[in-house]
Symmetry: C2
Subunit: 905 residues, 2 copies
């Protein structure tokens, strides 16, 4: 029979640390710590399978599981000599969620469960502390009321604040036992009014209700959003941890705190964290009171401090990773409540991984697996340009590094609304999980309350987004949408700048500059990635500046230069348009010859410009291959919009205007109509252009080879790879290749020198992948254009799919947006077919990918599996791709088995 | 060493009748007849390989081949005791093209080669017939000048006509030897003027030039067009037949003719053909003089007639197929110049095939292979409704059966221009190969000259298009664009009607009616097809009328009912539009609920109409399956066009108008903008609609099952198969299937009865084919939507590809339009993957095809190969599909080896 409940306590646990699937992360940590002899309050974990069974059973907990809970509870009561609801020796427990993957702030927690009208008196008696007892009961009702009974938190807070106000108190701690008793009475009245039943007094019933509420919270919208953003499967379920209460709020020798064994922001090997004396855990995490740095604990309680350092040091060594821990001190005695691998910034992740290799804790492969490739984003993010300082108006906590500049908004909804154009900075008293959609779009976050482990800090670090937290000088009036910092009054829409690495808040629009990722341990770390990876990494770059950046980031070539971007420049567009005006149909050979002549004349003007473009790229990539794609987009993209012309003409005609402008517009409309397509994505574009108008390919080839020869004369080694787009049939490629080869020999003959070059093709149509054996007979390389390949494989336009993808991901028809994460089942299958059949025809065929997926770690995994030679991505994603490629190689070698679990913690 | 030249003559030939690949059709026939001891003028055939070598060798005939020709020529001269250019006993030869596949009128022929200034005198002397000698020389210069030297035919005709006019002659035969000599002199002057060299006098040089001209003509535009239309590969090349001249114009005991062993129009077993006394072959074929029915020959020369009947009877028995033969009588002696399997109308093809089975000549499988499936079109074409007769104004030859009604045009270009809207009838004095593009688009052809074997007659029969030829009462003035028939003056744009089966020409717009294909041998023939075929044949039909027609044509079910067509009716469109107006995005749940309510209200109005639609189809198909596809097209197809609304609004605004109309237009534009897509083919359509708006699927399912239950109550057996379009992922299908199944049980419960039904899916995206194993777990059937599958596989929009396909087919990048002929390499591969992986997951999975390809014989072959269960096509193509399926089965069984060669002749 399946086991649903696992006890821990008294030095031994039924579960183990490697049972995260079953016990969740928190439950596994508690079991592990218990088994390691650490001071962990005893309790039991209800397994994730119980959560799944609960939902499968129509939101009912089966009797068999209830009985297992009863049995674990009895065991616990026996161990402690306490009983739930017992008036003599009452047991109080916390009820916490704990899924396999850590989901901070997303799930709900209930403390002090077991309290009722009788027990509270017993606790008061036993602790000789009425204030503590009533405050604990008050907190329990409030949490239970909010989490289990769905009564708005604000209703409880209103009662609490009224009592404080009535008494003229500033601090919670000023409230007397009588005040608290009055509050409890009012809370119970609120429950009766809202729920039409009395606040449940029976502790066993409280427990059941709490467990079910935790299960239900698995599907609350915040949790769903978090899972979607972090690609956590929806069907895992959460475990529930029921644990004996220890109290950090039992007076001045009690306290509670959270910490990290190393600095999660910088990775520095220093004990890191915060605590509050005479407080419960929620006070620290929720950021309501600003806590004290953990180093201060040494002054208050040196022995406890030393014990904590010892324990956490052992934990780090045990898990071989930074530990994020929670502890409570109850009347001088230390209890460990949780340990888990700590979330960290990208900077910290790299530094910690490298340090741990140096410390002999892990090897290089493990170090590489420790950093999520996306985290490197944070090392590559802009920093403030200090040479042009702005007015510093406040300093907060450096909660998440990077610089951010934007217009101020005060609600998550406003962030979404206004964040579509210019960047916004979301300013909040403190953030709550409901703000997550606004945090996603904001350039940065500023909060007036909360610490380094507050919701805002934790979430932004995960997002790699700049955050200044706990900026206590800031008064945030969310209703009136005003931020006051000293004499400065900042209104919605005003510009501010943040430095998340130092905590500075500045007025106005700062200038940002790129970081130097090559300082610090980043270089060593990336070198390891390069040693492991088998995939090459190139960049998609159209201009020399991007090429230079990508080379600095370690790109080994350009995998995609989109030549059409060059034609949109204002000095070129007129020639391009003249060329297009001559792309007309005619059956008259004389007329056709005239049109061709006109096209050639316009192309001749573009030739020297293209030659300069290519020379610049060759120079930037000296010695490295540069893949140049011939003209790809439909021609009408270079002309005014059809409906705009129609409206202009209709307007002029309605006004009775005649003359040159109207006839000019009409002439343009005629050309645009001639090129109009119902589905331009599936129309006259790609190599089809070069087949219908070979002189375009001819001009581009000429520019490429002339530039390459000129470079060679200057001692620069140009390695052009000419790439023909949208091929679906080998004869298309053969026809275009014939032009390229012919022009190459013409140029070489004229210049008297030769350069090496390749001619290859995009594989971006299912037709191409499905006849890749034939195509490889002509192609010297393949480059998978997975944007188009995804479009055609799914029959889904990237320009039109927003609504569809949103609905599909929400309805779980797709696990993710297939344009962000390469679909392994279908598009990935075409990659495999294309690669293997291409190589069968040409053993040394070079195969790459240059779609957006080339920079996505999960997609890179698919590319590695398909046996590609390289990926190509945007310059800033090159390091991410290098790391992802390294990890893919490690995973494929089977080396990751031991470390992957912690890497995903 | 490869042999390039094959001699024949003197009772034996080096080639054989089965060497069509090598000798071409004509050459193989000559070899076969020679070997059979028939009277064939001796000669030799230069093989098709020589043509290919000629082009590979840069349009030069290699010396080795020239030497082979010399040797064959010597052999011929020895056999005949004549020599090329010999003044005593000169050899004259014809030079004719002859490809593997017959291409009537497409290639060029030269007669009387060997003539020069000396030889002509020798011939005059030997034949005692100066007129004959000079006329032969005159003809030779004219043909050689036109075909080899590219001098316009009209230039020669002008000289010839001038001389006639000068002498006041009406007939060519009135010209005296002196006249002819003057013409010859003028011809030679013309050649010198045009070519800057003298007309070549050296016969061996004449021969070389002629052979090369024949080779070159393989790539003339007419030949290329014919090959493209008839899907004949471009790289076969043509053979050249050099044959001793025999003369049908040596006086009144000479003549020439062509014929068929059975009537090629009706298939009746009667000797059929035409001849002209004292004429050369070109006079018959070109339709310049109207020839005499072949039966008349019996009166002129009874012995020769009997010999001809004997020989051709033996040939038919030998080839086991109708023979199309050419003969010449020279001074009372019969010569056979050509025999080949005769082209015939669809009607004739079926009748002949059935008759030959009855005669024991062939078996049923061979009979089936004898009819091109497309030819059945001619049996299914409309005929004139005789109950409402029009004014008969003339009668011509019934050159190609069927009825045609259209507006008169006088040039091929006008036919193309004007034939896009209403049907046109192309009226010509006689048609020429250059008219082929006009003949393609015309509904029917009327010529004033030429016989049953004239260009117009042969080509239209091949096209299955109505033609009345040789209508000698008609005076066609192509320049002034006037057709005079007696007192009737018919201008461009006037309506006329033709009956190609009787030769009648009528004034005005006739009513046509459908033929009864079930009379005559058609029924027996189709029964054989049904016995052989393994593929089922269904029809695509949206309305009961089409369903009924398709059932009469033998459809075994409906393979595709497009429900959207039903929504365009004027009583439904307003409801559809109201539904669409409520397809809006909102994040407000209340608003969303209101929109859904609005959609449901509009759908409720459509429900009873859809129910009636389906009930009609079920009734028509009583007992047969009816596949109903849920809503497929993008919603904006049901709304006014976006740019039209923009222009209307701009016009009203420019005029300063305000008011209800403007704001209504703006509101509509807002909705249209919301639905606007850049690539609607890849947008919100297919099952995506049903996933975003499940109530649409719900309504359609309800209509289907309510109709089916109602039918059952009336004793009609409805067999609905609900088909979900544009699925790419099994979860899409699962979600829609859940709705269909739920609605079905609701309806069955309410009605108290049940009907059998299936739920399946279109496979029309590469994604679907590539995950068909998964999809088949939910789908009870697959239907390949090869229109969309071709679009997405090739990344090519059917709406935008005209220009591209034309260029690609012309440049030979594609062998054919992939929307007309299923691409076997890529789309066909997806068919195979989809079918085999689908069946692996569900062994009894029913698999069909419902794209346009379902009615195309070549595509049906691919479907048979992929192992599909059925094809579905438009009602009128059902018999074609049945035959094609029968042929596919015969080919796959290997039975066709013996007969395919003659079927393609």
């Amino acid at each position: 029979m399946e086991k649903y409940v696992y006890s821990f306590g008294g030095g031994k646990a039924e579960g183990r640390g490697d049972m995260k699937d079953v016990l969740g992360g928190k439950g596994a940590g508690l079991a592990e710590m218990t088994n390691a002899g650490l001071p962990v309050p005893p309790g039991f974990t209800i397994a994730t399978s119980a959560c799944r069974t609960y939902f499968e059973n129509g939101n009912q907990l089966p009797k068999s599981i209830q009985e297992e809970v009863d049995s674990a509870l009895s065991h616990l009561e026996l161990l402690l000599g306490q009983r739930l609801g017992d008036s003599g020796s009452p047991l109080l427990v916390s009820v916490r969620s704990g899924a396999k993957f850590s989901m901070p702030g997303m799930m709900d927690t209930i403390l002090n469960l077991g309290m009722n009208d009788t027990v509270v008196e017993s606790v008061a008696r036993k602790t000789q502390n009425q204030r503590f007892a009533y405050d604990s009961y008050r907190r329990f009702i409030q949490m239970f009321g909010g989490v289990v009974l769905d009564i708005p938190k604000a209703d409880f807070e209103h009662i609490f604040d009224s009592q404080k106000k009535r008494r003229g108190f500033k601090f919670d701690t000023q409230l007397t036992p009588e005040d608290l008793n009055r509050i409890i009475a009012a809370y119970k009245k609120l429950v009766l009014k809202k729920k039409k039943f009395e606040f449940p007094q029976e502790p066993r019933r409280q427990l059941n209700m709490a467990v079910e509420a935790v299960f239900r919270s698995w599907y609350n919208p915040r949790a769903q959003t978090y899972r979607r953003l972090n690609r956590i499967p929806d069907d895992l379920g959460t475990a529930v941890n029921v644990q004996t209460m220890v109290f950090g709020n039992m007076g001045e020798t009690s306290g509670t705190g959270v910490g990290f064994t190393r600095d999660p922001a910088t990775g520095a090997k220093q004990f890191y964290g915060e605590f509050l004396m005479n407080a419960q855990g929620e006070d620290v995490v929720a950021g309501v009171r600003t806590p004290v740095p953990i180093a201060e604990l040494e002054k208050f309680m040196p022995e406890v401090y030393q014990q904590l350092r010892d324990i956490t040091g052992r934990l780090e060594e045990h898990y071989k990773d930074v530990q994020d821990f929670e502890f409570t001190i109850q009347e001088g005695k230390l209890y460990m409540l949780q340990t888990r691998n700590g979330k960290r910034t990208g900077n910290a992740a790299v530094r910690i991984a490298v340090d741990m290799v140096d410390e002999g804790l892990i090897d290089e492969a493990e170090a590489l697996m420790r950093v999520e490739p996306e985290q490197l984003n944070q090392l590559l993010h802009p920093v403030l340009d200090e040479s042009k300082p702005l007015k510093l108006i406040a300093k907060g906590l450096p909660a998440s590094p990077g610089a951010a500049v934007g217009r101020v908004v005060f609600t998550a909804d406003d962030a979404v609304k206004q964040g579509k154009g210019e960047p916004v900075i979301l300013v909040r008293g403190e953030t709550v999980p409901d703000d997550i959609h606004g945090m996603e779009v904001a350039a940065g976050i500023l909060t007036s309350r909360g610490g380094m482990t507050s919701h805002a800090a934790v979430v932004t670090r995960g997002m790699g987004k700049c955050c200044v937290a706990g900026c206590s000088d800031a008064e945030v009036d969310e209703k009136r949408k005003i931020l006051k910092i000293g004499p400065n009054v900042i209104k919605e829409g005003d510009w501010i700048s943040l430095d998340g690495s130092t905590g500075r808040v500045m007025l106005g629009k700062a200038i940002t500059k790129q970081p130097d990722p090559h300082s610090g341990p980043f270089g060593r770390f990336m070198k390891w990635a390069d040693e492991y990876r088998q995939l090459g990494v190139r960049a998609n770059a159209d201009i020399p500046r991007d090429a230079t950046v990508s080379r600095e980031f370690g790109a080994e070539g350009i995998g995609l230069c989109r030549t059409e971007h060059m034609f949109f420049a204002s000095d070129r567009l007129p020639h391009m348009q003249r060329m297009i005006m001559a792309c007309k149909d005619t059956s008259d050979p004389k007329e056709a010859a005239r049109y061709e002549k006109d096209r050639r004349a316009a192309l001749a003007k573009l030739l020297p410009m293209q030659r300069r473009d290519f020379a610049g790229l060759f120079k930037a990539m000296d010695g490295l291959p540069v893949t140049i794609r011939t003209l790809d987009p439909p021609l009408h993209e270079f002309l005014p919009k059809r409906e705009q012309l129609m409206v202009e003409i209709a307007t002029l005609e309605a006004k009775g205007k005649k003359g040159a402008k109207l006839s000019q517009l009409k002439k343009m409309l005629e050309v645009v109509e001639g090129l109009h397509e119902f589905n331009p994505m599936l129309g006259l574009r790609g190599c089809r252009l070069g087949i219908l108008y070979p002189e375009i390919t001819e001009m581009q080839a000429r520019a490429i080879f002339e530039a390459a020869c000129d470079c060679k004369n200057k001692g620069i080694r140009a390695r052009p790879e000419v790439m023909i787009p949208l091929v679906g049939e080998v004869k298309e490629l053969a026809a275009q290749k014939e032009i390229v080869d012919r022009v190459a020999s013409e140029v070489f003959a004229k210049k008297g020198i030769e350069v090496e070059y390749l001619v290859g093709t995009m594989i971006e149509l299912p037709a191409a992948a499905l006849s890749s054996g034939e195509i490889a007979r002509e192609a010297q390389f393949f480059s998978f254009g997975t944007n188009d390949l995804t479009q055609t494989t799914f029959g889904l336009s990237r320009d039109d799919c927003g609504k569809i993808i949103a609905a599909y991901v929400k309805q779980k028809i797709w696990p993710a947006d297939p344009f962000a994460v390469l679909d392994p089942k279908r598009v990935g299958r075409l990659l495999k077919i294309g690669t293997s059949e291409g190589r069968q025809a040409r053993a040394n065929l070079k195969v790459g990918i240059c779609g957006e997926h080339g920079g996505d770690p999960a997609s890179i995994e698919v590319c590695a599996e398909a046996g590609l030679n390289y990926v190509s991505c945007s310059p800033y994603r090159v390091p991410i791709a290098r790391l992802a490629a390294g990890q893919a190689a490690i995973r494929r070698s089977g080396k990751d088995v031991a470390v992957s679990a912690s890497a995903t913690a």
